[in-house]
Structure formats: C-alpha cells, structure tokens
Symmetry: C2
Subunit: 358 residues, 2 copies
Amino acid sequence: MDDAGQLKRRIDTCLRRLVDEEEAELLRVSGELAPLCAQLRISLTRGKRLRAAFLYWGWRAAGQPDCESVVKAAAAMELVHAAACTHDDIIDDSRLRHGVPTAHAAFAEGRAGGACDTAAGAPHGERQERSAALAMLLGDLLMGYAGQVFATCGLPGAYVARTASLWSSLLRETVAGEFLEVLRTGGVVPKVAESLEVARYKTAKYTVERPLHMGATLGGASPRGLDAFTGYGMPLGEAFQLRDDLLGVFGDPAETGKSNLDDLRDKKPTALLAVTASLLPAGPARQLHEVLGKPALDESDAALVRELMEDSGARQRIEDMIQERIAQARAALDSVALPSEARSALRALAGSATDRSL
Amino acid sequence: MDDAGQLKRRIDTCLRRLVDEEEAELLRVSGELAPLCAQLRISLTRGKRLRAAFLYWGWRAAGQPDCESVVKAAAAMELVHAAACTHDDIIDDSRLRHGVPTAHAAFAEGRAGGACDTAAGAPHGERQERSAALAMLLGDLLMGYAGQVFATCGLPGAYVARTASLWSSLLRETVAGEFLEVLRTGGVVPKVAESLEVARYKTAKYTVERPLHMGATLGGASPRGLDAFTGYGMPLGEAFQLRDDLLGVFGDPAETGKSNLDDLRDKKPTALLAVTASLLPAGPARQLHEVLGKPALDESDAALVRELMEDSGARQRIEDMIQERIAQARAALDSVALPSEARSALRALAGSATDRSL
C-alpha cells in the first residue's frame, strides 16, 4: 500500500472507532436510535478522505512529524464533510452517494438499518418530510462530532487554539457558497464567473485551501506562510469542482456511485452549464433552455444536453480549464520551499483532480 | 433592572456584536447574502436566554467570580439554541416564533430582508423546499458559531478543555431527543413515560442540566459535584417542557408569539396528550383520536381537544406535575452548599417554569 493509501486507512480507522463509541452511547439512550446509528456508520464509511489528506499534509508541510494526533485532527475534516454531504443531499434530493442510498433516502424507505416503521407506513409526502428531518438531525450530529474530535485530537491546546478563526472562516465560506448556490439553482443560467465564485467558496476553500491552512496553522506556520497554500489550493479546488461538474453529467453512475441526471434536473448553476450556454448559437441555446426547463427531465433529454455540451466544445473547454488549474497549482507548489515528502504528496493530490471517478 | 435582566442584557450585547461582525464578513463574500444576515440577526434577537443563565450560574455556583469571558461562554449556549430552533421550526413547519416569521417561513415569502427574488417567483412546492434549504444552512452556521464563540470565550484553554465531553453529551442527547420525537410524532399517542423520556433528552438535559454542568465544569467543579445540578436540573427541565406543552395548546398566540394549533396538527407526542388519552373514557377518547387524525385540524377542532383536556382533568394534572417538579428542583438546591447569590438566582430561575409565557 502506498503512503496515500496508508493515510486513508488511518483516517478510516479513526472514524470507525468514533462510530463504534458513539453507537454504544446512542443505543444506551434508546434502542429506537438504531437507524440513526446505521446511517451514521454509512455516512462515515466511504470517501477519498481528500480533506483529511490536505490537513495532514499542511501539517507536514509546516515541518511537523507524523503523529496520531494530527490524524485525528484530520479526521475531523471528514466529519465536517459528512455533515455537509448529508445536508447537501437533502437540499438536492440526491438519492445515491458512493452507490448507496443517501441518509434521507434510506430513512424514507425504512431501509435505515432498524425499525423506522412509523415513517415507512406514512403517506408519501409526509414520509419525505420526516425522512428529511431525520437526516438533518444526523447532519447536525456529525457536525457536532467534528468540533469535538478536533478539540480533543491530542495536540497541545495552544496549537488547537491557533485555528479558531480558521474554523469560523471554513464554516462561513462553506455555508455562504451553499447559500448562493441554492439561490441560483433553477434560475437563469449563470455567467461563468458567477459559477466559479460559488465553486471557490463551496469547494475550493472548503476542500483544499482551508484544510491546508488548518494543518499548517496547527503546525505553527505564520499567517504569511499560508499564502503559498492559497496559490496551490484555490486553483486545485476549482479543478476539483469542474471535474465534479463533468462527472455529474457525463459520469457513469456505476463508477461514480451517483446519478448523472440530478445536476441537469435541478438546473445546477455549474460552470459547465455556463460555458455551454456561452458557446452555443441562438438555435441550440433555445433548445438547451427548453430541455432544462422541463419539470421531469429524462434520460433522452439528458442525452441531448450532453450532445450540446460536446458539440459546442464546452466539455473540452472544462477539461482544458481543469488542466490549466492543475498546472497553476503545481507551479505554486514549485515556487516555495517544502519538505520533500510533503511536496510530492501535494503534487500527487493535485493529480487526483484528473481522475475520472473523483 | 434586576440581576436577571442585567445578565440577559449582557448576553444580548454579546450576540449583537457577533451578528455585526459576521454580517460584515458575509456581505464581503457577496451582497446576495443579505437575506441570510437578516435572518441571522432575527434568530439571535429574541429569547429569555435561559440556557445562558444556567451556564452562568453553574459557573458562579462553583465559586467563580463574574467576568465577561463566562458571559461569552454562556452566549454560546444561545447560539446552540438558535441553531436548534431554526432546524426544529423546519421539522415542525412552525411559521411563527416570538411573534415573527421563522427563518424558513421568511425565506419562502421573500421577506427575508433582502433579494430572494428567484425563490419568491418559483412555484409553491419548490419555494418551500428552497426556503427549508436556506434555513437549514442558517442553522448550520449558527451551530458553527456556537463552537467558535465557546472556544474563544477568553477563559483559560484548560478550563475550556474540561468541557469537551460535556459538549458531546449535550449534542448527542439533544439530537437523540429530537430524533425520537420525530419518530413518534403523528403516530400512536405515547405513554406518559415515553413522552417524559423525550422531554428529558430534548429539553431537561439540553436546557437546564447540561448548561449548568458546563458552567460548573468550566468553574472547576468535580464530576461528583455535578450531581446536585442533575437533581435540580432534570425535574426543572421537565417542568419547562410541560409548561411548553401547555402553552403549545392553551397559550394565547398574541402572548406566546407562536401558533397554538401546531402541536395538535402535528400530533406531537407530548405528555399533555398522553395524560389526556390515559384519563379519557372510551367515548371521548375515540373523539380525541378522530380529531387528531384530521389532515387539516382547524380552530374548532382545537377547541374540542382543549375541552377534552380540561374536562378530563389532564390540564390540571400537568399543572400539578409542573409544581411537583419545581418543588423537587428547589429541594435539591436546598440540600447542597452554594454561594448565596447563585442559590437565589437558581431558585428564581426555577420559578420561571410557572410563567405563562415562557
């Protein structure tokens, strides 16, 4: 197993231990909480652990040695992410993530791994609302664990205290990005710059820049020393979002584990959509707007949109934008002095934005 | 102004300062976040600040002096509460709190204090979902602030670190209580013991016991020293919930600032409902079940339920249960040695459960 695989395994172990402990605590409250425990476990089982990796390598980049405490601090990033995903899936009504039903979908179908009988027997609309409520509570719980795991990671209190304002920033920026996206979803097709603005807050800062800042600050980097991580993190984070936009439309659900219709159905204000609209001549542009305006967009509608995205050159343009941004991120990395292990890990992480199954 | 009024004013000031700072940060991200800022302000403007008061007096009860840092730590409890209320109002679809529209209601009506035009123009169902999404994000933001305000309250790091496992408990118990309530809402009328179980987790621990534990632990009380606060806090917290149950059905909306139909419409599994069902003879019991089963329970239905609750003696029984619990709480207080100022403040706080407009 390579280094990246080993780090992922350590994060997984840390999260599994938390789930085991919390499950015992929750079941001590009531056996009726079994469905909550089941979804807690599922929500923490999958994922690439990218955010944890960026925190970890931010710490190492600051010259600090490997230790279990920083792995625990890094695991907290994955708890934030699991919370955000759980709430995000309710907002988008995404039914599948990593190939398994999302929490609210599982609660609605009584497949939550325990007796949710009352919910399963209720009328459809009511069941949807109830399952969204249960999933919202799961997200709240995950977010609370994040703060706790971080606060008790085992690093000296003075190290942890240094990151207080970064936590505020991470939280504010992520919520702000999500809020803007909800406001703009389903409305007019955005300009490319607007889409990238949302991507910067919702993904770039949250996934790459802030976790790196968090790790580096834990490790004692000065506020000025964080600039290099911004130069690397922001373009790379945008590249991740652009890759995600492509996978959301062109991805194979069997590989990505999620629907490739949801983004189009919701008329998500992605850069892919914005670039497509900007490149299409009047006739096909009208066609695009008609299809995206449909209340129940189906597979053949999606096929048409994909064709328009290909033919207009938008898909290729997004691929180019991804490559430009990865190159920018790597150049930023090359311009600073870093421990060699950290440098090569961060170079490799930049490459993962080219993966087809992010 | 009395001491309680002064403490409330200091908490209010602390929260207003946070809102001012955060509003500036959010608007720096985008002017489109104005509606989020407006709801953030509203969600932190009202309230009795009970949870903050319990944390504060827990600290004072541990022999610590008044200081601004503990007021800030106490304000964090109100942020947790504002977050929980925001999410709770979505779950219950409560439209009014403290006499003003709840966050999701305001977002839906485009009355959020800024341009939510896209949402206001969308079809009804879609608008509801979008407004719930925006309010969920507001709640997430509030919860994040809570952790931050607490972590940076200004008390020594070692004091703050002592409360880590209490935060976990507070969070776990609150989510567990809410989860159980959602599972049981709208189902069969619960047994009295089951209703009180939910009340213990959702209200008693969260509103009284844990804030007291938090304050006392910050102040250096030993884990064993917390038992007295449990003896006081649990019955008092149940009394608060029972009072809230009464106000939810018998309260005057002009005074309580919230609907007195919502609990009945949702068939909330309150102790009031459980006691009523247990006291009614077969005929009126059938009548109760029929009315509560109505999909659109109206004012005249509610009047009938109120009559059944009066005539069965259930309303009086709940009043008696409140008085018993307040007496229990005060007895627990009398059985321990406490600084006199803390003792009299906690006695007075126990009395507030008798208020008709909690």
